[in-house]
């Protein structure tokens, strides 16, 4: 007799509804932002140091890599913010039905995508 | 099989449905060391499927309601072979038992006054049949059984009952003093076989609707307690009396509560006619279940059935309105959509009479004490053995049970069995020990099965058994065809003794359990067939084409089937209630 029982937790085999995907993205973006804070603080430090520093940061952001890092952090921030607002609505009892939850998930994705694209254009 | 482990309790209850858990609760609360042995987790028991309610004169819908009226209805419904002392007990103690359930937390529906909501059910009257339709069935929407079963489980958790969940009792252990001293059971998860020793063994294993091909019963309703009693040589009573519920969903067999008709639904045939007006001018769709089921079959036989096969009738509910349906019958709306592909808010539901309830069972006293007969035909108690609920035949349902009386039966007599056993144990009742031989005798069946070299498959034999019962022992019965059916059953029995499990592993071996259940199904089916053949009259649910009349001269009796001699005896019906006058048999019309 095999005493160690297996557990069916093969995550790839399960169907995850949209609200679940929102939730995991909320987590991931949260971690991205937490790491990103280091960059933001560094850039803030330099930009406030002097006019020269401010120019350095501005020029730096013209480069693709820094642009990409900043855009990534911004994207995470935007998504985390929008999904967070969805959470706050749910706390008030809005969107706690199955349909409501699905609808608000779609809205969250839609609004985030639009804002993230706009942020990318703006940063460029 | 060698020596097996022994576990001891003062009392064991076999079965974790409504009756079993009510008995266990009573015992545990009074300090008796009790274990409830249940083959499925308790809330998965068939009580969970009960829908309409629990009938009881709590005087909510009608402040003048009287338990004696309920008693009158029940005696009449039983076609006069219900024991009047037991019915008196049930109807008079009922309100207390129902209030106890409410105090435990059962979420009954409510009236504007805050009292328990009661709805009309079939066969209910006021003032001994003279005051018109009564509304006496206490309901939790149409999920009363679910609410009741969960409440009882919760109460047992509170009380601290020991549950042996997913343990399957195989057979009774009987010692040389003819005392029942426990059961042999198998822990399904591990496959370990254990002797569970007890001073009092309560069989609360429910019904056996699975002997029929079309039934409202759960897949687990295989008559395990009846099988155990029969194999131990004990008789069973009124086994020919099987209730066919008028409204099982056509094709699927799932139950549609009588509460639908109580709330104002009615049956129509292919011509759109409300045909029950012809068969029961007064009660119409709320006549006794046997009457309604027979009327439906006659409609179909006379060519007024619905659908392409003209083999069912329709239950009309849409006129009740969406709001009432969603408030009072939400479960029915759900079930109809799932199993009939019909939305009852818009369309009528296709229904057929479907095997629903076993009125017969192990004969017992009001206190659940199991009975047999001595050579002179006198009642004799079986030491250590008790029964309650559908497995028992107290008998409060006689030849036909009224809707809503089964839930009342199981709480009242589950409780009564608990009270009675506790009293006996407190009085110092001790039973003897079982010898190794006694235990081995109870193990014999399992050993035979394990070493079987047979070739029959359990599923195939079971299917043939169910078809045979459906065909020859259904709503209408006939001597010749039952004779044929009995012969077929003999052959099926031969095959049942020759099955191959196809799986000898230990852990959660459901094939083994199903093979053991098949034996019980066969025992019940055979007792049913034999008793049906021998009762030469029509009464209640037992309707014969060759003996169409009720025969009070010869058959105002319980039938008692003795398995060892294969003989049908008779037992007197109790006509001696303690506080009211005897209700004399009358012609039964609705």
């Amino acid at each position: 007799m095999n005493s160690k029982r297996p557990v069916n937790l093969d995550l790839g085999k399960f169907h995850f509804p949209l609200p679940a995907i929102i939730s995991i993205l909320h987590r991931i973006t949260g971690i991205i932002i937490f790491v990103g804070i280091a960059f933001l603080l560094y850039w803030l430090d330099v930009s406030l140091d002097s006019e020269e520093g401010f120019r350095q940061v501005s020029e730096l952001l013209d480069g693709f890599l820094a642009w990409f890092v900043l855009w990534g952090i911004m994207a995470g921030l935007i998504f985390h913010l929008v999904a967070g607002i969805r959470h706050l609505f749910m706390d008030m009892g809005i969107g706690e039905t199955l349909e409501g939850g699905r609808l608000s998930s779609k809205i969250t994705i839609g609004v985030s995508v639009v804002l993230i694209i706009l942020a990318g254009i703006w940063l460029w | 099989m060698g020596k097996i482990r022994t576990i001891s309790y003062d009392a064991i209850v076999v079965g974790g449905g409504g009756a079993g858990m009510r008995a266990a609760l009573q015992l545990t609360e009074t300090g008796v060391d009790t274990a409830c042995i249940t083959k499925v987790f308790p809330t998965r028991s068939h009580t969970v499927s009960a829908q309409g309610g629990i009938t009881c004169a709590i005087a909510s819908a009608d402040p003048n309601d009287d338990w004696r009226w309920h008693m009158y209805d029940t005696v009449k419904g039983s076609d006069y072979i219900g024991d009047q002392e037991a019915i008196e007990y049930m109807c008079s103690v009922g309100p207390q038992a129902v209030f106890e359930l409410e105090h435990m937390g059962l979420p009954f529906s409510r009236t504007e006054q805050g009292r328990i909501y009661q709805r009309p059910f079939g066969g209910q009257s006021k003032d001994y049949g003279k005051g018109g339709q009564a509304a006496r069935t206490c309901a939790a929407a149409d999920r009363t059984g679910h609410a009741l079963l969960h409440t009882l489980y919760q109460a047992n958790l509170k009380g601290g009952t020991t549950f042996l969940n997913e343990w399957y009792a195989i057979d009774l252990v009987k010692n040389s003093d003819q005392q029942v001293v426990g059961v042999i059971a198998i822990e399904i998860e591990t496959g370990e076989v254990v002797y569970i020793k007890s001073k009092a063994t309560v069989l609360a294993t429910g019904g056996a609707g699975r002997i029929y091909a079309s039934t409202t019963n759960a897949l687990i309703n295989t008559g395990d307690g009846i099988g155990m009693a029969l194999r131990a040589g004990y008789p069973v009573q009124d086994m020919e009396m099987w209730q066919f519920h008028p409204t099982g969903i056509y094709g699927a067999g799932t139950l549609v509560t009588e509460g639908c008709r109580g709330e104002g639904g009615y049956l129509i045939n292919s011509e759109g006619e409300r045909f029950m007006e012809r068969y029961a001018p007064n009660a119409k769709d709320l006549a006794g279940r046997d009457v309604v089921a027979r009327s439906m079959v006659i409609e179909v036989l006379e060519g007024r059935g619905c659908g392409p096969e003209k083999d069912h009738v329709l239950l009309k509910l849409d006129h009740l309105g969406e709001e009432t349906l969603n408030l009072r019958l939400p479960g029915i709306v759900e079930l109809s959509r799932t199993f009939a592909h019909v939305d009852p808010i818009k369309d009528p539901v296709p229904v057929v009479p479907t095997c629903h309830y076993m009125m017969g069972g192990i004969p017992t006293t009001v206190g659940g004490q199991a009975l047999t007969q001595d050579k002179e035909g006198n009642d004799q108690v079986i030491d250590g053995l008790f029964a309650c609920g559908e497995a028992a035949c107290v008998s409060v349902h006689g030849a036909n049970r009224l809707g809503g009386n089964s839930l009342l039966d199981l709480v009242v007599f589950g409780r009564a069995a608990g009270l009675h056993i506790e009293e006996r144990l407190r009085g110092g009742y001790e039973s003897g020990d079982a010898s190794e031989d006694d235990i081995n005798r109870a193990l014999a069946r399992l050993e035979r099965l394990e070493s079987s070299t047979g070739t029959e498959s359990v599923a195939a034999v079971r299917k043939d058994l169910q078809s045979c019962m459906q065909l020859y022992f259904g709503v209408f019965r006939d001597g010749d065809s039952m004779g044929e059916g009995l012969k077929k059953l003999d052959a099926i029995g031969e095959r049942a003794r020759n099955v191959q499990i196809g799986d000898n592993s230990k852990a959660f071996n459901t094939a083994r359990i199903e093979a053991l259940e098949l034996d019980n199904l066969f025992e019940v089916a055979y007792a049913t067939a034999y008793s049906a053949m021998e009762r030469r009259e029509s009464r209640g649910a037992h309707a014969r084409n060759d003996y169409t009349e009720r025969d009070d001269e010869n058959w105002l009796k319980h039938s008692v089937y003795f398995p060892l001699e294969k003989r049908l005896g008779k037992r007197d019906v109790n006509f001696a209630p303690k506080t009211v006058d005897t209700l004399q048999p009358m012609i039964r019309t609705y």
Binding site: R27, G30, I31, F34, I37, A38, L41, L44, D45, S47, L48, D49, S50, E51, F54, R55, L77, L81, G84, I85, H87, L88, D91, W122 | -
Partner: protein, 114 residues
Amino acid sequence: MVKTVTNLGRSGVYDWMIQRVTAYILALYTLFLFGFMLTTDLSYESWSALFGQTWFRIFSLMALVSIGAHAWVGLWTVTTDYIKATAPRFLVQATAGTAMFVYVVWGVQILWGH
């Protein structure tokens, strides 16, 4: 009742409240900054003027402390969900905690140091 020592508050409600209150602060701060950057012609002058005002320094510090609390509750939840062995979980939590401390001190230095 489940007892833990590494969560921020004494209870679930407390943690939950902290996360919500900080969420509002951070949302406001973020929206304000975005708004500022979109409506103002961004230059060193305007930028350092903004960060030169005391109220904005306080607002920024509040945001920074909020990040610490908000992230602690969030990261604590994530680590207790996914890291089941005590030692690595504690290590990650300690690292995150240190980072938060560094962020706050560094932030104070940035805000008042220029």
